[in-house]
Symmetry: C2
DNA sequence: TTCTAAATGAGACTGAATTGCACTTGCAGT
DNA sequence: ACTGCAAGTGCAATTCAGTCTCATTTAGAA
């Protein structure tokens, strides 16, 4: 969305005890600039297309570091590849509707569901840390076409 | 749980347009006999330990066929291996709490969440087919020990 | 500028899952 | 029961996302 400049991105990395390498800055900038849920290969190819020299290993390692610092979220849509999206803090949580036809992803947040999840955990003496909720189906556009 | 005999299992397979091979019967019987959420390799090893000759490829292909017939559910707990559990029809749906320490899986079903999910889909013009909800955290026992 | 721990690049490697192909078998039809 | 053959199986080769090794490079502190 809003294009953060390189200095801002470098500071963000340093605030999270990460060396501000050109590869990491480029990766963060890419994730800041999109609403997509890219996988590692897509990120790798986008960076290369943007004249950034980077290796697959570095993409994976950088993403791992960013996820560990909660700057990025790692998502499993169940198709064998992990997806990544920029995380804008604790209050940024949302879940996903995924169109099985066109792959479109719709984000949502529902406070009642979140509350029920906590209640369920309490009933089971379970201490939750994270959760994922994926609803698969057909989006409005694909429904019309089909 | 209740040990279904081979004839019953064979009939189940045939009712779903699947040839009742010895491998498939053994696989179904194994899944009927457990509450676990086995992965393909565990199923393969269990069948071998039970003197059943079966190959990994057949385990994968049989599971795929059973999932397609909705006799088995395929679960992705996010650790790189798919899990499988017997499905006892449409009304058998449940979601999972997963202990990140010991791996224990607690099953639950919450009608309010299911209703909210449907509402969310309607709001987005989305036609749902399936969903998965995984809540990761620490189970009561691991909490006490930790 | 110099120094060095951390990061990167290239490619080898891993492990789950899939596939090609020759062989076997369930089972429908006789 | 016997036969024919499409469907299923076994094995090995293959795919593919992701991880690891190690030689080289670099960020950033001194
Ligand atoms: Mn998202
Ligand atoms: Mn279950
Ligand atoms: Zn769609
Ligand atoms: Zn536990």
């Amino acid at each position: 969305m809003q294009a953060a400049n390189n200095r801002t991105l470098k500071n963000t990395l340093r605030e999270h005890e990460l060396k501000a390498t050109t590869q990491r800055v480029a990766l963060l900038k890419l994730l800041e600039s999109t609403q997509e849920h890219f996988d590692a290969e897509e990120i790798y190819l986008q960076l290369r297309a943007g004249q950034k020299n980077v290796s697959r290993a570095t993409v994976y390692r950088s993403l791992e570091a960013l996820v560990e610092q909660c700057l990025v979220s790692k998502l499993d849509f169940g198709d064998g590849r992990m997806r990544y999206e920029l995380s804008r803090g604790e209050d940024d949580h949302h879940d996903h509707l995924i169109c099985e036809i066109c792959g479109k992803v719709i984000e949502f947040f529902n406070l009642e569901i979140e509350a029920q999840q906590i209640a369920i955990c309490q009933e089971n003496g379970f201490t939750p840390s994270t959760h994922t909720m994926l609803i698969f189906g057909t989006c409005a556009e694909c429904r019309k076409l089909g």
